[in-house]
Every structure is written in structure tokens, then in C-alpha cells.
């Protein structure tokens, strides 16, 4: 029994260690949440909805449910500052549509954020 408790505590410790290691979230010197934006690079999918984040702060988004391909995706620029992920969707007609989110999870495989109205978005990395 004692050994069992010991093994459980070791497993719990290991899990916490691994989770801590794989999660990019950490805090900066000011105590603000911080995420490694390199995890963001690449293609993310949620159902039929796709986002592709390119290095340099540009990206495209599309939804195959609407018969839109990646090459036809709409452009946006993005910034990740602390836990604030800002999309500026660029309109062909010249306007722009800003969208601001708060990131809760950014790992090599999962991206999760919510907006100011509490709407949560979760994406999986497309390999």
C-alpha cells in the first residue's frame, strides 16, 4: 500500500513535470502570461475551419465547408503579445477587421483562446 502511494506520487510529479515542460505558457518578469509564438506557426484546424500562421505575422484563414481552398483563403495579420492574440483581417476593399483574443493554451498540437465575449476557440495543429 505504501509502495502504491509512493508510485502514485511519483507518477503525479512526473505528469506535472511533463505538463509543465510541454506547455509554452509561462510568466514574464511582470507576472504577465507569456506564450511562445513559434508554436503558432503552421496550420490549425477546428472542424472545417482552418488558420495558417506564417512567420512574420501574416496568415490566411478558410473554411472548406464553404468550398474555399487554402489558396483562396483570406489574409490577416497577427500579433501575439503576452496572452493577447490579435488578428487584423485585411479586406480586399481596403478596410480591416480587428479581432482580439486571449490565449489560454498554445502547445505544439493545441491552440485555445477566447474573445471578450467569452467565446472559446480550440484548434488542433495540422501535421
Amino acid at each position: 500500500m505504501k509502495n502504491s502511494i509512493k508510485k502514485f506520487l511519483l507518477f503525479l510529479l512526473a505528469s506535472v513535470a511533463i505538463g509543465t515542460a510541454l506547455t509554452s505558457c509561462s510568466t514574464n518578469d511582470d507576472g504577465e502570461a507569456y506564450f511562445d509564438e513559434t508554436f503558432l506557426y503552421g496550420k490549425w484546424q477546428s472542424g472545417t475551419e482552418f488558420y495558417r500562421y506564417d512567420a512574420g505575422g501574416e496568415g490566411v484563414t478558410w473554411d472548406t465547408a464553404d468550398d474555399v481552398t487554402e489558396s483562396e483563403g483570406q489574409k490577416f495579420t497577427w500579433t501575439l503579445s503576452g496572452d493577447e492574440l490579435k488578428h487584423i483581417h485585411i479586406m480586399v476593399m481596403g478596410g480591416s477587421v480587428p479581432k482580439v483574443y486571449t490565449v489560454t493554451t498554445l502547445t505544439a498540437s493545441t491552440l485555445s483562446y477566447y474573445d471578450s465575449f467569452g467565446k472559446v476557440f480550440t484548434f488542433s495543429k495540422v501535421r
Binding site: D67, M91, V92, G95, V97, F117
Partner: protein, 1063 residues
Amino acid sequence: MKKWLKIAGISLGSLVGLLLVTLCVVCWLVFTPARLTPILSGQMEKFISAPTSLGQVDVSLFSSFSTLELQIDNFVITNPMEGAPSDTVVSVGRLSGAIDVKAYLKNKEIILHDLTLSRGNINIFTDSSGKTNYDIFPAKEEEVAEESAPLDLGKIMSAADLKKIALEEVDIKYISIPDTLSAEFAGVNLSLSGSMRGENLRGQLLFGIEAINMTTSTGPLATDWPMSLKVPFKAEGGVATLDKATLSVADLIELAVDGTLSKEGEGIDTDLSLIVSDLDIETTLAALPASFRELVKDIDASGVVGVTATAKGRLAEGELPQVTATLNLADGSLRHPAIPLPINKIDGKLVATAGQKAGEEMTASALIDALSLATPQSSVTISGKANNLLGDPTADLTLTTRVSLPEVAGLLPDTLPLAAEGILSGTVKAAGALSDLTAGAYDRLHADGNLSLTDLSIHYDTLHIATQSLTTHIALPNPHHAENTFAHLSFGWQELAAFAGNNLQARLQTGSGDVDLTNPLEHIGANLALTIDGLQGAMEEYKADISRATLTGQIDHTTGDTVTIPSLTARVILDKVAAEASPMAVVGNNLGVTLAMRADPDEPTRPVVTLHYDNSALNATLGPDHTAALGNVELLATMIIRSEEENPLLRFNPTGKVSIRDVNYNNPTLLVEGEPMPIEVPEISLTFTPERFDIIDSRVVAGRSDFRLEGVLDNLTSFLRNEALLQGRLKFSSEQTDINQLMALTSGIGYSEEELAEDKALATHAAPPLSEEAGEEAMPFMVPKGVSLRLDVDIADALIGNDSARGVKGTVSVEDGTLVLDDLHFSTSATEMHLTAMYQSPRPNHLFVGLDCHMLDIEIGNLLNLFPEMGDMMPMLRSFGGGGEFHIAAETNLDRNYNIKPSTIRGAASLRGEDLVLMDGETFTEISRLLRFNKHTENKIDSLSAEFTIFREEIDIYPFLVVMDEYKAIVGGRHNLDMSMDYNISLIHNPLIPIRLGLDITGNIEDMKFRLAECKYADLYRPAEQKVVETSQLALRELIRKALTQTVESEPTEAEEDKGGDS
């Protein structure tokens, strides 16, 4: 035969000499045979080197005094030669003669009265080396010289008063190995009798051969041919007369010669006539030697040929008598395997004349006096004359013919599926010189002919041509044309019909034509004029009826130039044309087409074609109620043909101009918005080159639109070669234009079937139809690709959607698949609008539409009417009344049925208004109650400035300040396209309650939930209190508004306004 004469002369001379010697010997030795024979034998050895023998020599002087008669019996000369049929050269049974002793004694003249050779055989042989068996005389020099001298028969004859020279029953054989000739003359009888006194000669020659047999290397030449010759003659006073001299050879020929020859000075006057008895061709052919018969064995000929000839005139140096020969052919017929038809009724008369007058060239001419022949169904007659046959022959002939076409068609191979009916008849006269003919100087020939075809009917395979009459007339030279003087050809027909199976039928009514030609050997030139009173044609479902057609044409080309394209010009005028190809039909009046072709000056093998078309009126029915009527149409085009190009425009490179007037086009299938769209074109006038179209003027009334289009389309050729965009700079002016109709009219230009089909498949597999209509594969408006068109628009009244726009000015451009309405200014019922819109159609199921619209003074109610979707996206707008300015930029992608793709919606809008009215309603009442508004609060909003964005289904209303009476509230939130909402109203100033209240409004339009909550935006418009979030919100609003209004004339930004307001 000259050799024969020589042999005969030598033999005769030898015999005469022998006789004289014998007479002398006889006279000396008292004429006893016993004495004479040895003496003569001995003397003969001196004259003849070959062995000879004499039977007996007998001389009698006294029985017939005063003549000395000499008789030699059994005189034989032998000369054996290998290969010779006999050793005997000459064998004479009896040789006798008589000499006038009295004349000898008195005048020392030896006059020979009679010379007869009876029962003789003469064998003449020449071996393969040329050696002859009659070479029997000693070769003394004197004799050789004498022998080599010409035999002077006249001298011999002048020394003799020959009463008779006779050969009786002499057989002659002649064999020449080198000549492969063998001849036997059996029963040769000759009787030459007459007398010669001084220069007068009178006598008669009778010569006959009972049988002539002759064989050559080719076979028998003559077999048992008898021959007889009778020549009565006299020569007196320098006049020689032949009195009915006759010659007959077997059954081949019999002729008679009559006339005189008289010596005049150095010449001879002739007056001779020759009559050849009628020759039966059949008999003559049968009598021909076998070797000749072999040559003509396939000829089956009959008829009678008669020849007469005369020779009159002087025969002297440089002069020839006029010889006229007449050949008559009667009842002739000819059949030969090589001649497919029997030829009968050959009749004709040919007269040939030749002669030479002193100081002139010899002349010869021929006259054909109606040579005619006939086949079973056809006949030909030739008559005429030919002159100067020995120099440059000329002829003047007339040919009259009547040819049965069925008979001619029967001569064609059975494999040729041709049948013909009808008669070709006519007369052709031709005259000219042979030198002109051979030199190609056809323009110096003369011809005049008429040929006619009657009841013509020709069947060739499935082709059938028939006419009652087809006549032609040809004349050389041409008397009708000043330039093309070589020939004139005219032709005409009545009711000419042509059929090709059951598919093609054509009927030409009466027509006629004229062709004027140049000499083709010098220059190819022709003028053609053709008139057809009417033409009806039908091919399968196509029919045409032309009331009258005229065609004129010219051709001009240098003979022998095989490189340069000939110059051709043709002009066709059709009084009236009615064509039908169900359900289509065309009726045109006064159609004229001029087509000219010449060589490109820079490239002679490249044709340059000029086309000129015009008509006064053209009406076309293109289907049920589908019609097009054109007034005057005129087209003038020059085309440089480049056959190596595939695209028609590049191949023809047209340059020219077109004008079309009074076009009315009605197409019931051309439905726009479910209504037929008639098109009227009062006038179109344009010029064109391979690269450019200049629309000088075009007025079009299309449906509810009337407009005038002017401008330029450029880069046409480059566009077709995929080297450049098609560029257009056009001006579109209109009193009224229905843009909806025009878009429907031009939809789909420039897209390949593959592109459209491929996209259909992609759309089908990629996603399910977004609506029921999507499954019907509707085709949206596809913006033309590969073109760059700029259209300056000036429309007084434009129908767009359900509204109309007035004073539309701006630019509509199409740029390689993108349609842009660039900065259009116009007024609608709701507002004055500045509109920039974009429409792209990368593929049918993925369209793009974007809008940048600025309405500077619009009633919000009108705004919602103009864009009902705005009310759905921002329901709060329905709560406001009054005017303001509205800016919006929005874009989305659409599917093929113009359904919005929700994931692609992007938009940003800015609304600014003053003195608005908050519409009283259940919602406002509930809000007023919860926020403790005074019941007397005036629902007038002093000012409002709001920005909101649309992203997919989310519509974010950025917090904005509302000032109403003494109340200030900040409103912000989110509205979703599913009509759910999440708003917060933060009341930041309430004159009645000094606390800040907040109100959350959630739920959806049908079931809104109100709940007092935190005053969420309390510090938004308090700069000193603003936190990061509030600052960011304002920055985003600034970003949105700036982007929206940057294209509009300078307006105060919200920041500026806020600063002003706050201050």
C-alpha cells in the same frame, strides 16, 4: 528498177550488137548457117566471157529483100554460181531481127526494122557478197568506160526504124540475197512498135506480164498479179501525145493517162490527165499482199475511192505545171477494234492542187469539199480549204456536228457511273495559219462557232444535271471588247436543274453569260458577266430562293507566273434573297458582294482579299418570334490571308469599316429577369484593323437600356495570341441603363467549357449545395478574362436591383476577370452615394463581391431599405430614426447561386448621426424602465458615432456613446447572424440617480433578456480613467473608421470629433 533498166539495156544492146556483127558475117560468108554459126560462136567469146551456146544461126536476104533477116535459135548463156537457182543466165528460144539492106547500101545507115525475142528465160542472181551472175562481159578498159557511161537508148533508137520490138513468152527470175528479194515475172510480153522518121516518132507500147510473184523478207509481196500496160504515143513537131495510155495491176488499180507534152523553148508545156478507176476498198484490201493484210487485218473498211488528176502548164526550170488531184470517197465505212463505234456514210471529196509559176514559189493547196461521216447516232461534216501547203499552211475549215450524248457516254468505261441524254449540235468555223498555231499566236486565228445542247440530262453517280437548252457561241477574235480581244464566249440556258441525291437540289431559271478572254499564252485575262433570272436551291433542311442574280468578274494574271497570286475581281448582285434553314429564315434585298483578290506586294504568294458587302434591307427569322431586321449594312474589308494561322482573325487580318443601320433584334429566349429583351441598333459605325476596333458611333437600345458606345478596342491580335490583354477604352452614355439586364446579357464570356465543367465537379465534391438552387448548377455572371476594358459611364438613370440611380458618373472597368465600379457617384432615392464595388469570378462556385460605399446623408430607414441585410446584421439600427452619414466596406465570397459563404464575410461600418430619434417600442420601454429613465425623457439622440465590424457570423458593435436628453450611455456588444446577442448598456450619466447602472441584453430578437449588470464601459470616455482595454477599443474604432473614410473627401475623424466633444 533502175537496175532493171540497166540490165535490160545492156542485154538489148548486146543483142543488137550481136545481130549487127552476125549480119556482117552473114553478108561476108554467103549467109549459110553452117558457116555463120561457128563464126558467131567464135565472135561471141569476144563479147561474152561466160560460156555460151548457139543452136543455129540463119540469115535470109533474098526471101525478104530489101531486108536482111537474121534468126538465132537456142542461144544460151550460162554462169554457174553457188546458191543460184540455175546455171543459165539467159536462154532464148529464138532471137530474130531484120535490117534494111537498101538503106545500108544507099546511106550506110543500119536500120533495124524488127527485133523479136521468143520463148526466153532470164535468171538474174546476186549472192550474199553482191556478186551477180550477169557479170559476163570482158572487162576491157574501153568497154568499162562505155559500160559505165549512161546507156543512150535514144541514140540506139535513132539509128533504128523500129517497126516492132517484141518479147514473147519470156520468163524472168530475179533473186537478190542481199535484198532478200525474190521475184518471178512469168509470161512477159512486150511489143514496142512504131516508126521514127527524123524527129517524128509514132508507136505503141504494149507490155504485159501474166503473173508477178514477189517475195520479200516480210513475206509475199505479190502473188500471181497480172499486169498490163498500153501506151499509144506519138511525137510530132515537138509535141508528144499519150492517147489513152492505160495501166492495170491485178485488181488493185487501173488508170488511164491522156494528154500532150509539147516542147516550148527550154521547157515543156503539159496537158495531161489521169483517171484512176474507182477502187473498191474492200477488194483492194483483200488483194493486198499477205504481209500488208496482216497490218490491216483488224480493219473492216469499205467504200469506193476514185482519183482523177490533171497536169497543165509549163514544165521548165523554175516552173511546174498546175497539178490538180481529186480524190472522191463514197459510201465509205470503217470498223476497227480501236474505234469504239462503227463509222459509216463516209463521203467526201478532196481536191489537191500544186504548181509553180515562173518567178514564183511553188504553191500547193487542198480543198475539202464536205467530208462527212456518221456513227449510228452522230454525224460530223468537215469542209474547207487549206492553202500554201508547201510554205506556211493556212486553213479555213467548217465543222458541223451532231453528237448523240448517249452514244458518247456509252464509250466511257463501265466503272464510270455516267449516263447522258441529249444532243450536241452546232457549227464551228476556224481559220488560221499553221505557224500561228504552233507559235501559240492564237490571237491571229479566227473562229466562230455555235454549239447547243438540247434536252441535256447527265447522271453522274448521285449527281444529276438537266436543261432544256444550253447554247454557246465562241468567236476569235473578240469583236466586243477593247482589251480582251482574243476571244468572246457567250452562253445561255433555260431551266437548268441540278440534283445531288436527295440532299441537294438547285434550279436555275433562264440565264446567260459572256466571257471576254485574252490570249492565255501571252496574258491571262478574262471578263465575265453572268445573269440568272432566278435560282432556287435546297440542301437538306436549307433552302434558298434568289429572284435575280448578276455576276461580273475579271481575272488578270501573267502567263507562266506560278508564284504570284492571280488578280481576281467578282461582283455579285442579288435583287432578292430568301434563305431558310428551319427554324431560321433570311430575306434580303439588293445584296451586293464585291470580292477582289490580288497578291501582297511584299509576298506574292500571299493573297490580299478585299470584300465589299452592302444590302438595303435584311430580315432574319432565327426561330419562333426570334427575329432580326437590318437596314442598310455596308462592309468594306481588306484581308491579308495567312493560312498558317488557325485563329480566323489572325488568318484573315481584316482591315476596314462596317456600318449597320436600323437593326431590330428580338429573341424570346434572350430572357433577362424572365422577360424577353429586344435589342435595337439605330446605327453602328466602326473601323477595324487586326489589332484595333474603333467604334465611331453605336447606338443601342437593349431592353430597358439605351446607350451610345464609342471608343477603342485594342490589342485584338495580341490578345488572340495570348501576348497581351484585350484593352478597351470606351465611353458609355445613356439616358437609361438597366445594369441587371446587361450583366445577364454578357455573363460567361471568356470562360472555357473545361473551366466551367471542372468547377462544377469541384463544387459538387467539395461541399454540398448551399441551397436548393445550388444543386441546379446555375451559372453565375463570369467576368471576361484576358481583357482590360475601361468604360467611362455617364448614365442619366441606371436601374440597379430594385432601385434606380440617377446621374451615374464614373468608371466601370473589367480587368482580366475583375469587374470594378470605380468611384461611381450617383443619387438614389435614399441618398447620394459614392460607390466602389468589385466583382470577381475566379470560378463559378467561388465568386467575390466587395463594396465600399459612402452615403453622406441618408435616412436610416432608407438605408435599411437599400440594404435590408443591414437590419438583420444590426437590429439596433431599426431603433433609430433620422439622417446621418454611413460608411461601409464589406466583402464576401458567394457560391454560384450568389449565396453568401458565411465564413468569408468581412465588413466594417461607421455610422454617424445627429438629432436622431430613438424609436419608441417595447425594447426601449424595457430599457428605460430598468435604467430608471424619466418618463418625460425626450427620445432624441443628440449625436451618435458608432463603428462595428462583421467577421463571419459575428457582428461586433464597438462601444459608442449615446447622448439622449440629459442621459449618457455607452452601448457595445455582439450580435450574431443567428440573431443571438450580447449587449451591454453602460449608463454613465443619469441626472436622477448619481450611480452608474449597467444593463446586459442577451438572448435573441424573439426572446431578449434584460438584466442589470456591471457598468462595463464606465471609463471608456474618461481618458484619465481608461485602462488598457478601453484604450485598445478606441484605437480599434479609430483604425476601422480611418480605413473606411480614407477614400472620401476629408472628414473629421472620430478622434478629432471626440476630442471636440469632450472639450
